[in-house]
């Protein structure tokens, strides 16, 4: 993978670089930002915010609820066994199983969604171990040949950064 990126010591310089890259004609999708903490207070930290995860969690919960109700209703009515004179299908006790499986459904749906949408488990992507030391990485993967010098200029425009490249050039 070919890439060009800069490492910046704080959020403000990273924000300036992101603005410059946007001025150079890049969309948000083409800009890669990596940080060791969520940079919620900066505008660039708000990229890619929209998520369906809340709805999916609710959906998972509904699936859990349906399976619990189905399991208890089907098994208790198909093979009714008299215990203590209680009715074969009483909603009070089955409510507990329903609740537990609803929450389990929501939890699992959340985690699965996280793994998929955060693209966890899939390697690759632009990264530098310096990010762990507190630097913020702002860069571009696979820049087109013509745009590369302009991008490099944008990255170097902020003095405190350190610009690096990866790959064949």
């Amino acid at each position: 993978m070919k890439a060009i990126y800069g490492l910046y010591p704080d959020g403000q310089s990273a924000q300036q670089v992101v603005n410059r890259l946007r001025a150079a004609g890049l969309t948000d999708r083409e800009i890669t930002v990596c940080s060791s903490q969520p940079m919620e207070h900066y505008e660039f930290g708000q990229m890619d915010r929209a998520t369906w995860i809340w709805w999916i969690a609710c959906g998972g919960g509904l699936i859990g609820m349906a399976s619990a109700l189905g399991l208890s209703w089907l098994t208790e009515t198909t093979w009714p066994i008299d215990v203590g004179g209680l009715p074969a299908f009483a909603w009070w006790p089955n409510l507990i199983i329903t609740f537990e499986l609803t929450m389990l459904g929501a939890i699992i749906a959340t985690v699965v969604t996280l793994v998929i949408t955060a693209r966890l488990g899939r390697g690759g992507g632009l990264y530098d171990p310096e990010v762990t030391e507190g630097k913020i990485l702002v860069g571009v993967e696979n820049p087109s040949e013509s745009a590369a010098p302009a991008l490099e200029a944008a990255l170097r425009a902020v003095d405190v950064g350190e610009v690096r490249t990866i790959g064949e050039s």
Partner: protein
């Protein structure tokens, strides 16, 4: 079942007969002292009063086959459930030994197999082939000799007739010399047990706990 406390002499023949009929092993004096004896029917002995006006009361207690059995809803594997005949069934194969049923039983008539049962030879020849042996880790209790009930039912069906009152006798009722234990069909209002249950001397054990037991205890209420 009806148990007439005015007739019971506390002899314990019912206990012995039950052990013999249902393949209940004895556990030895040591284990019995540690509370591991499995007396599906036990004779409770109570002393009342101060010397010299002491009175001895006996009460045979077995599984009350409750209509509202607290031992049934709590079993996680349905090993304890109610049969259409009105008996509380204990399915040994299904029991995983959580012992919740025994805790729930207010009468403490459920027993746990703490060890694999063993009979010294040649006592093993005395075992009843109609009753399964229970392995370590399962719960067991009085079944009203369900093997006798079932075999009588099958016999009656084969002969295309109904069961007569008194035809089925659990081993405890059969062994009692004072005829204190009476077994029968409570759905039949004319059976001996139904009549005894309606007797003014009759009461149920621990009725206020709400288990709706099916064993009536008869005793004269004496003036103190």
């Amino acid at each position: 079942m009806a148990a007439d406390l005015d007739r019971c002499t506390g002899c314990g023949a019912c206990v012995t007969a039950c052990h013999a009929e249902n393949n209940i092993s004895t556990v030895g004096a040591d284990q019995a002292a540690r509370g591991r004896a499995k007396h599906w029917i036990r004779v409770e002995r109570y002393w009342e009063g101060e010397f010299p006006d002491v009175q001895l009361k006996f009460r045979p207690v077995m599984c009350q086959q409750c209509d509202n059995a607290p031992c049934e809803p709590v079993c996680p594997t349905y090993a304890s459930h109610h049969t259409p005949d009105g008996l509380n069934a204990q399915v040994y194969n299904r029991c995983i030994g959580t012992r919740y049923c025994a805790n729930a039983c207010p009468y403490n008539v459920r027993f746990f197999d703490f060890f694999n049962p063993s009979w010294d030879k040649p006592l093993h020849l005395q075992l009843n082939p109609d009753v399964s042996l229970r392995e370590v880790g399962v719960m067991e209790k009085c079944t009203f000799c369900v093997q006798r009930i079932k075999s009588a039912q099958i016999q009656a069906k084969a002969e295309d007739r109904k069961l007569a009152d008194g035809e089925v006798q659990p081993s405890c009722a059969q062994a009692c010399p004072a005829k204190a234990l009476v077994f029968g069909d409570l759905d039949d209002p004319e059976s001996a047990v139904s009549r005894l249950t309606r007797s003014p001397r009759g009461s149920k054990l621990l009725e206020d706990v709400g288990t709706r037991p099916n064993v009536a205890y008869l005793s004269r209420q004496t003036e103190v």
